[in-house]
């Protein structure tokens, strides 16, 4: 059995209702949990982009990708490992202002991680950080050890490939050619 790895799937679909359901159902059927999910418009008009991460082995991920791509309104689906992508996530940390003021180590930690303070009021302080998963989690653990965290949340992953262009554009151009 292959070891499990974190894979990132980039899925492009037409902007029609119900695709998200169809995409996630493929994971459910194959008993793979989705680790994170981000859906937004892509750079191509009318095409939506899904960035999905999941722990799995390559065999399983290949089957999932093919079954997703088989859906009528899915334009393209591909899977990547981290070295093939630029990846970003965001973390939001809501800290107790009195504790932040009391313990200067907290602000130093925030600065050391390159996070920024985006709002301060007498009750709470909001810290934001962009980065890769591990760093965002590390900062949370560091802040949590001071006992100052009121709330914490981390976004889903967004990613672009290291290739020049959204790889789906070429496919769509080829399809449009065919239509003519």
């Amino acid at each position: 059995m292959e070891a499990k790895k974190l894979y990132t799937l980039l899925v492009y679909s037409e902007n029609v209702a119900g695709i998200l359901n169809q995409v996630t159902a493929v994971f459910t059927r194959r008993q793979v949990n989705i680790e994170s999910l981000n859906v937004s418009a892509s750079s191509i008009p009318g095409v939506h982009k899904y960035t999905i991460t999941a722990w799995s082995d390559e065999d399983q991920i290949v089957k999932i990708v093919r079954q997703i791509e088989k859906k009528i309104d899915v334009v393209k689906a591909n899977y990547f490992t981290d070295d093939q992508l630029f990846i970003r996530e965001s973390g939001l940390y809501k800290l107790s202002t009195p504790q932040v003021l009391e313990n200067p180590e907290i602000s130093r930690t925030v600065r050391r991680y390159g996070a920024s303070i985006i709002e301060v009021n007498p009750t709470y302080t909001i810290v934001m950080m962009h980065g890769v998963t591990e760093h965002i989690i590390e900062l949370y653990r560091a802040l949590d050890s001071f006992g100052c965290v009121l709330q914490y949340t981390r976004s889903g992953r967004i990613a672009v490939t290291r290739g020049m262009q959204e790889q789906v554009s070429a496919f769509l151009e080829e399809r449009e050619e065919k239509k003519k």
């Binding site: 679909s13 065999d59 088989k70 309104d73 769509l172």
Partner: protein
């Protein structure tokens, strides 16, 4: 109506109800008089409509159509939709839906159809406005019939049924995100040809893809050029005639002995339009490990799904088979083919002869099927229900003509037989339709006798009654310490039932009456029920127990 007409629809299987009344009202004019262009077959239950549409599609190659109402009307079709999905059968189910203003309010007979149908259909879509109708209907038929076919569901909101617009025909024959016919990869064809040219013991596995791609002749040319023996899956049985010299029988759990063993001996395995179902492969860990595997399929997601391939040729086999045939060398595998014969002989002596020519005791399913096959016309269509009747029927029926089998292979739907047979009589009105059922499956869609009566549909029903749910009983005997938990069944008097529906009926209990009864059935115009009193506890053999290796196939228990 005009959208359906534009798609060439001729026959609709349906059942009216509240949310589909506007469509039914329009249908009234289109099924009679000057405007007549459709036949509407009123079924007795919506499940029957979908199975009839499947039977129609399977024998005709056209898209089957079912028309039903919202709520329970359409939830009743879900079994048929799932069945068509697993068996790649092109049907379009059009269902009424409450008006969009009532959606999401738990309105009377509202159900989230697109939500429930999505995982079991090729495409599901809700038509919310009249201007979507032409586009959605055309897209539905395009998706259902192209590529790997499958069921499409249209959820037709009532407001969209009554809104008036100027009719503007729309023809969908391109969807940019959907590539039904992948481009043939010449490199893959070359690699496949090289494997075949170097093979000493090649074996082809033929599936329904050959029928769906209408590539029966291309298959023959391919097999004959390189002298390759071929087994067929249950759904692919009529892709190659039974009497073809290269046909080595049926694959799978209850298929033929030799071909199952030879899957573990061949050096190149060529899968053509089949999906390596667990009923074919048995234990995947040991399946055909010695062989190089070539997989021809139109559906990319089938490649490496169950069996790892060495060469995948992803294309319509109508295109890939001739390309491959052009590159392979003439060959002679006489010795390899001869090596099947002793195993065939073993199966014939131990299993087949006792099953089809028993000397004494009660009637057996195998002999009934064999006796029908002997008298049936060459282009007869075999329809089966699910269970022992299906396994005996598929084993012992003879296939001479393409598109000759309707059976629920993937979903294994009991109750499929009778309505599918009705559909087959409409899809192939000039062919004999023989439908084998057990006493369990016969009662699961027994209400369709009403449809048969009303339409005088010439379904030759062979009811093989053993007073048991025979296949489950066989498993109980083999794997569950003979604890026959709820598999013995009390049966009604089928003669009275036949009488009630005015369908000619004959019972056979004695072997000597069988041939004459079959002759009467086949020469009687219209439908017929032939009830055969079958030995209660007979077993289908050979058998590969579930999860075991294909070469562990047993000839006796």
């Amino acid at each position: 109506m005009r959208a359906l007409q534009a798609e060439g629809v001729k026959t609709i299987f349906g059942y009216p109800g509240g949310s589909i009344m506007p469509v039914y009202d329009a249908l009234f004019d289109y099924t009679r008089g000057e405007k007549k262009c459709f036949d509407h077959i009123l079924v007795r239950h919506e499940q029957g409509a979908t199975h009839a549409a499947e039977g129609y599609a399977r024998v005709s190659g056209e898209v089957g159509v079912a028309l039903v109402t919202s709520g329970p009307g359409v939830t009743n079709t879900l079994t048929g939709i799932a069945d068509a999905m697993l068996d790649s059968t092109p049907i379009v189910v059009i269902a009424g839906q409450v008006p969009i203003s009532a959606l999401g309010t738990d309105a009377f007979q509202e159900v989230d159809l697109v939500g429930v149908a999505q995982p079991i259909s090729k495409w599901s879509y809700q038509i919310r406005h009249a201007e979507d109708v032409a586009w959605a209907v055309s897209r539905a038929f395009y998706i259902a019939r192209t590529g790997r076919p499958g069921p499409v569901v249209l959820d037709f909101a009532k407001n969209a049924q009554v809104e008036e617009i100027d009719w503007e025909p729309k023809k969908v024959d391109f969807i940019r995100s959907y590539v039904p016919y992948p481009k043939l990869d010449d490199e893959a064809v070359r690699a496949a040809a090289e494997l075949i040219n170097n093979a000493q013991k090649p074996l082809a596995l033929v599936g329904q893809g050959v029928e769906l791609g209408n590539a029966q002749e291309e298959l023959k040319a391919f097999l004959e050029k390189a002298d390759i023996p071929a087994g067929r899956t249950m759904l692919g049985l009529s892709a190659l005639p039974s009497n073809h010299p290269l046909n080595v029988g049926m694959l799978g759990m209850h298929g033929n002995f030799a071909v199952n063993l030879k899957e573990q001996e061949c050096d190149v395995l060529i899968a053509i339009g089949m999906r390596f179902s667990d009923r074919v492969t048995g234990n995947l860990k040991t399946y055909a490990k010695q062989a190089k595997v070539i997989h021809l399929d139109i559906d990319h997601s089938e490649i490496d799904k169950n069996v790892k391939t060495d060469v995948a040729v992803i294309a319509d086999c109508k295109e890939s088979l001739p390309a491959l045939t052009a590159l392979i060398h003439q060959a002679n595998h006489h010795e390899w083919r001869e090596s099947f014969k002793p195993l065939d002989e073993k199966e014939r002596v131990k299993v087949i002869e006792p099953a089809i020519h028993p000397k004494e005791g009660p009637l057996l399913m195998g002999e009934v099927v064999n006796a029908v096959a002997e008298q049936a016309s060459d282009n007869a269509v075999l329809v089966t229900d699910v269970g022992q009747n299906q396994l005996f029927a598929t084993r012992y029926f003879k296939y001479h003509h393409k598109r000759s089998i309707c059976t629920s292979g993937g979903l294994g739907t009991m109750g499929y037989g009778m309505p599918a047979a009705i559909g087959a009589t409409f899809g192939a009105p000039d062919r004999q339709v023989c439908c084998f059922m057990g006493d369990g499956g016969f009662q699961m869609c027994i209400e369709e006798l009403g449809t048969i009566m009303e339409q005088k549909a010439p379904v030759k029903m062979i009811l093989m009654n053993n007073n048991y749910l025979g296949n489950v009983r066989q498993w109980q005997d083999m794997f569950w310490l003979r604890r026959k938990s709820f598999t013995k069944m009390m049966n009604p008097c089928y003669e009275l039932i036949a009488q009630g529906y005015g369908i000619p009926y004959q019972a056979v209990t004695d072997r000597k009456d069988l041939a004459a009864a079959i002759e009467r059935m086949l020469t009687t115009d219209g439908p017929f029920i032939l009830e055969c009193a079958i030995k209660e506890e007979d077993n289908v053999l050979p058998m590969t127990p579930p999860g075991m290796n294909v070469n562990d196939m047993m000839l006796e228990i």
